[in-house]
Symmetry: C2
């Protein structure tokens, strides 16, 4: 098993192995907690996903049940093979840049709304960025010591960028209201713009956007 040629998507496995590797043996419950706190910034998973995955990984020799405690609590520890797998994934796996973000989707669709509504939406997004950022910034891990420090810094940097974007966008939307008044952003009834794909140049360009 565990043929080392890692499957298409195995990020959950990796996240679990990484946590076990970094923080030592833990139960499924502990790991589920960890997804809410330390690693929430990078990955997430519920216990319903974690328990079966641990069983599979145990069968594959990536983790081992170290001990069993009260009320069926099983403590898993990473095996040498598991530790090897995380490291080789880190070193060899080029992460997919594929984007799938509801926030970005709302940003994308913003021009469908009239100015007032668009402002409301951006304000809500801004509030959300701000709360998230505050949540990250107050984590003690920020100091040079904590394990998740790199991911945390990345999250904070991106949170700040998002916040700035919200401010800029708000400014622009408000500015637009000053003169055009009723001409916010492709206002109201949508203007059919010929066809799709026309806006992005021709077939040759396709590779340029390749992600």
């Amino acid at each position: 098993m565990s043929s080392l040629g890692y499957a298409v998507r195995m990020s959950l496995k990796i996240a679990l192995l990484g946590l076990l590797d970094a923080k030592g043996p833990a139960s499924g419950y502990d790991l589920a907690k960890a997804f809410e706190s330390s690693i929430s910034n990078a990955w997430q998973a519920g216990h319903t996903q974690i328990y079966p995955e641990l069983v599979k990984m145990a069968a594959d020799g990536l983790v081992a049940v170290e001990s069993e405690g009260a009320r069926n609590r099983k403590i898993y520890a990473i095996t040498p093979e598991g530790a090897r797998l995380v490291r080789s994934w880190l070193i060899e796996h080029q992460p997919t840049a594929a984007m799938r973000s509801e926030v970005a989707l709302q940003a994308f669709l913003l021009p469908l709304l009239d100015r007032e509504d668009a402002i409301e939406v951006v304000l809500r997004l801004r509030r959300q960025f701000s709360e998230r950022l505050a949540g990250l910034e107050c984590r003690p891990v920020v100091k040079a010591s904590g394990f998740g420090r790199y991911a945390l810094r990345l999250g904070i940097a991106q949170g700040r960028a998002a916040l700035d974007w919200a401010d800029d966008t708000l400014a622009e939307l408000r500015e637009a209201g000053r003169d055009g008044e009723g001409s916010p952003a492709e206002t109201g009834p949508r203007p059919p713009e010929a066809g799709l794909g026309a806006s992005e140049a021709g077939p040759g360009t396709s590779a340029a956007e390749g992600e």
Copy 2:
């Protein structure tokens, strides 16, 4: 049908409706192309997901087949009900902040590697950010006019933040090598650090260590 109380996750629906709304009637094929170009920054989907979804949405009255062209090509147009749905989703739906990013996961796990390897990984990430950013920045949409301009700016802002993070992280990793030499980041064989949850404090900490 289409009970207006929108389901848990319906972002694909929304993305399709948004594209149809913004750019006018299009075929499934056109929409699949659009996911590669204009909206790739916010959402993505392959044709195998799009075709069935369009059929469902047509059954729900959110889109309608406007015309059928050569080789079975069906042109879908958004209906008023569909347009209403996108707008109310935009206005009412608080997007989930849930993170699931392989890039962030690699950042999180970076301390598992020794300094040399960590630097290699960050260099690769940096290259990736850089390419992605270049791809975004050269899009003509950046100008105030294009439909996806807000999402594009957000993507660019976050891309820059990621690039900066990579530079900072590289600097830190190289700096660490100067003195400690063999003491990069939790070097080599992992140190079991007691239990999980200990690093984050919080209300339920007591239970985390429980047996």
